[in-house]
């Protein structure tokens, strides 16, 4: 459907539909978005009967001229105020495509609605009023489109009737806006002069603009191309859930990039667990599929019953995502309260959810002038900012340019999704070296016949490190020894590994000063012992490092086996925020021992009794 004359709207729509495409219409308030959409439907004869008459009646009643916008601005409030409040999804079949055209509001009060509409779109029509020219939201919407991943944009300079269809006015706006988009690395496919109200260049080329030889708005839709699904990229399958409705243990999720097939070895990030795809499961599909690709919601079974859970990202070996607790991102903020440092937000990336904080606000991006970047201590509603984040737990992710769906995230403030962001850079955290060591060691690990689940079943508990930490003279070692005795007396397999015991042997070559290396070696020993299924108990006394740092390092090395931290303190101050259990002041050590044992049961490490099967809430 190219060319300048288009009689194509007389074509019956009986072409077989081959694909669907989502298009969003954006632009400054009142620039004519809803009118254009109404016109597109009316002039292609794709409205149900009686619809135009219904709108006519409403307009007459309100003493207004006919408003095409009312076709989609359906709510009373919207019609009374002549404004779109929330996005409308509309359906339009043309050629071989079924379009969902999303009409977004232009008023800045409703930016969150515009963003919701645009986030679903593969392409956008951006409208600019010829008389008013480029306005605030024309630019802000352009900026948001680029952040939301909408790369194809056609600009419509609307209301050309109000400027007498003058070419110089059109060229001026075309130049100004194209230059703005160029800064965002966006090149518009077309810039079309039009009048939605008069039906000029919407579905037919008009004599009013003899100087324009490009496509009509209708034709321009078919020039948007559909992203070929990202099947060539490295595989990303964020796990959504694990089902056990019958004998099958099925891992489900939607492939966001790449493809997989039966027999592929998968590695899950950030746990480094690995297994081979045994089957691809599907209901009412015969024969069962042997492969699947980006976009598909799949279910797979594995050759080994490894423990994996929602939030992990499956990838092929050596092609996994980054893992870190820090990254840099461009964020747009939609929350009622400003986005601030030192407050905890929940970050959701693909199917993973982790607490996070903003560690640095680098800049606020000025949508009107992309070069002018101000510094600030908070991000206000509707602002775009360049930030560094810190997550409470290691997160698997990509940068936005390498893998879109695993390179973007939303921020949740209390109950509400309040912002979105795209990751521009991975930032190495302190754990990076240890994480790489663990990953490489795990991928080369030679396994025996007995897996951790079988050991856990046999022993009545899963492996873990229980780490006693806190200031001196709080009787950490005493409690650790007590716990060991009680556990062993109960028939559990517990072992007190004091770091002191490594000093003259394994650590003999490094002396007293290399604390980091001492922790690393301790962590590797703990890895071996937990791999045998043991509960390893220790205090942080012998290490000259803060308790939190030691716990984190050991956790990285024994991942995904859990580190349980018991923090002991004399007073309420300076507690360890992430400790599993905290004890303040002197108290009954028998009671504390029991409390630790209860906690170990609650979090699924100890089975209720020896011989019973522990329940697996944590990763093994």
């Amino acid at each position: 459907m190219t060319g300048t004359t288009s009689a194509s709207h007389d074509m019956p729509n009986d072409n077989p539909i081959k694909e669907t495409m989502n298009i969003v219409i954006v632009g400054h308030v009142d620039h004519g978005k809803s009118t254009l959409l109404g016109r597109l439907y009316a002039d292609t004869g794709t409205l149900p009967v009686g619809k135009i008459e219904k709108i006519q009646a409403i307009c007459q009643q309100q003493g207004k001229e006919f408003e095409y916008a009312f076709l989609f601005d359906a709510f009373l409030e919207e019609q009374q105020q002549g404004i779109t409040i929330d996005t409308a999804r509309t359906f339009f079949s043309w050629g071989n495509r079924q379009y969902i055209i999303i009409d977004a509001p232009g008023h800045k009060e409703f930016l969150k609605n515009m963003v919701s509409g645009a986030a679903r779109a593969e392409a956008a029509l951006l409208l600019i009023d010829a008389l008013e020219g480029v306005k605030d939201q024309s630019k802000r919407h352009g900026l948001l489109l680029s952040m939301l991943g909408v790369k194809q944009v056609t600009v419509v300079v609307n209301k050309m009737d109000l400027v007498g269809y003058r070419e110089d006015v059109f060229r001026g706006i075309e130049k100004e806006y194209t230059e703005f988009l160029a800064q965002l690395n966006v090149i518009p496919q077309y810039v079309i002069p039009a009048s939605a109200k008069q039906g000029i260049n919407i579905t037919t080329n008009a004599t009013e603009t003899p100087w324009y030889t490009g496509p009509t708005v209708l034709d321009s839709l078919s020039h948007f191309s559909l992203d070929a699904a990202d099947t060539e990229q490295p595989l990303r399958l964020p796990l959504q859930d694990v089902y056990k409705f019958d004998a099958r243990r099925i891992l489900v999720g939607r492939i966001t990039a790449g493809q997989l097939k039966v027999g592929d070895r998968l590695v899950f990030a950030p746990s480094n667990k690995s297994a081979v795809i045994q089957t691809i499961e599907a209901f009412n599909v015969d024969p069962a599929p042997m492969q699947a690709r980006a976009g598909e919601s799949v279910g797979i079974t594995l050759d080994e019953q490894i423990f994996v859970e929602r939030g992990q990202i499956a990838a092929h070996e050596h092609q996994g995502p980054f893992v870190s607790t820090s990254f840099r991102a461009n964020v747009f903020w939609l929350g009622q309260r400003p986005l601030e440092r030192n407050r905890t937000y929940s970050l959701r990336l693909a199917t993973r959810e982790v607490p996070c904080e903003v560690s640095t606000i680098h800049r606020i991006v000025n949508a009107n002038d992309l070069d002018d970047r101000q510094t600030s201590t908070s991000v206000q509603r509707n602002e775009v900012a360049d930030l560094t984040f810190r997550t409470k737990a290691p997160l698997a992710f990509d940068t936005y340019t390498t893998s879109e769906d695993t390179g973007r995230f939303v921020l949740v403030d209390e109950y509400d999704v309040s912002g979105g962001g795209i990751i521009t850079e991975m930032i190495r955290d302190e754990q990076e070296g240890l994480r790489t060591e663990a990953r490489e060691r795990d991928s080369a690990w030679v396994k025996g016949e007995i897996g951790p689940e079988e050991r856990a079943q046999h022993y009545g508990h899963r492996a873990a490190v229980v780490l006693f930490t806190g200031p001196d003279t709080t009787a950490k070692a005493f409690l650790a020894r007590k716990l060991e005795s009680v556990l062993v007396a109960e028939g559990r397999h517990a072992y007190l590994l004091d770091a002191e015991n490594l000093r003259r042997g394994l650590d003999a070559d490094i002396g007293e000063t290399n604390a980091t290396e001492a922790v690393r070696r301790y962590g590797e020993v703990a890895k071996l012992l937990t791999d045998t299924g043991l509960l390893v108990l220790s205090t942080t006394n012998p290490f000259s490092l803060p308790g939190g740092t030691i716990a984190q390092a050991i956790q990285t090395l024994i991942n995904p086996t859990p580190v349980i931290t018991i923090y002991m303190s004399k007073e309420q101050e300076s507690l360890l925020p992430d400790a599993t259990l905290t004890f303040v002041g002197p108290e009954d050590f028998d009671a504390r021992t029991r409390q630790i044992i209860e906690t170990l049961k609650q979090i699924g490490i100890l089975a209720e009794s020896v011989g019973a099967q522990p329940d697996f809430q944590f990763s093994i």
């Binding site: 694909e19 409030e77 409040i85 996005t87 509309t90 969902i100 609605n113 499961e281 769906d405 979105g420």
Partner: protein, 266 residues
């Protein structure tokens, strides 16, 4: 066909998100073509199982064939069927002659509300589609409802990429709409593609020259003139038709639907 698989994949993703994130989840099933496709998609998402109850708000005025069909599929597919009814309103003689919107409010909106209160559901899956009417065009996939079940369309949560509204204050609930992006034609194309058992005795012309396009209560739902005798005929008919789908649904007239949906109608 590819476009149907796109829609299917998206809906399955949404169903699985709902199942993972809501402890007390139910799915409305009206036995119509949409909610039956939704039920089928649930069986696909959960590999032949339907791991939550199917809720039917029975107004007592449904066409009898619908109830037979409901009970047959519930048996064959081993569904956990929960039927709710506003008994008090019925005992007081509520029916459409007291006003269509009033009747819908009492028997459907209120009936649903009673069921939700009784069972304490926090997530309800519904088969509404955006192309049904212009208020549904403005729905979110995950749409919060307040303590009175009301929909505040002026202040809907942002919905970014595949991240939905899954946390909410106590007392409120979320409506989940996996079929928003499907058109009426897509529904029929999919029924054909997957060979889904539907209420053919009502949806197809049985030789009388008419069929139902949308199913509801007997007094307020009217058949249309049609000679469509199989799904292919229906699809061709719809492609050439310019009559709105819910033209046969009396409660949609004027601003009826806008009012109903703000108050919590499905």
């Amino acid at each position: 066909m590819k476009h149907l698989r796109q829609l299917e994949n998206q809906s399955i993703f949404i169903l699985r998100e709902a199942y993972k994130n809501f402890d007390n989840l139910g799915m409305l099933w009206s036995m119509g073509k949409d909610s039956t496709v939704l039920l089928w998609l649930a069986r696909k998402a959960f590999f032949g199982h339907v791991p939550f109850p199917l809720l039917h708000v029975d107004t007592s005025y449904k066409i009898p064939a619908m109830i037979e069909y409901r009970d047959r599929l519930a048996r064959e597919w081993r569904l956990n069927l929960v039927v709710g009814q506003n008994k008090e309103a019925l005992a007081n003689g509520m029916n459409h002659t007291r006003g269509r919107v009033e009747c819908c409010t009492a028997l459907k909106t209120e009936g649903l509300k009673l069921l939700l209160e009784e069972k304490g559901y926090t997530g309800i899956i519904l088969g509404v589609r955006s192309d049904e009417d212009s208020t549904r065009a403005k729905e979110r996939y995950f749409s919060p409802r307040d303590k009175n079940n009301e929909w505040d369309f002026r202040d809907q949560p942002p919905e970014l990429w595949d991240q939905y509204k899954i946390s909410f204050p106590p007392g409120t609930h979320i409506r989940i709409h996996p079929l928003l992006d499907w058109t009426e034609i897509n529904i029929w194309e999919y029924i054909k593609l997957e060979n889904i058992p539907f209420l053919d005795s009502l949806y197809l012309d049985q030789g009388t020259g008419q069929r139902y396009r949308s199913l509801g209560c007997e007094p307020c739902t009217f058949p249309m003139k049609s000679t469509a005798k199989n799904v292919d005929d229906v699809i061709i008919e719809l492609k050439n038709s310019k009559v709105a789908e819910r033209a046969g649904r009396a409660q949609d007239e004027g601003r009826g639907m806008e009012q109903l949906r703000k108050e919590g109608y499905m």
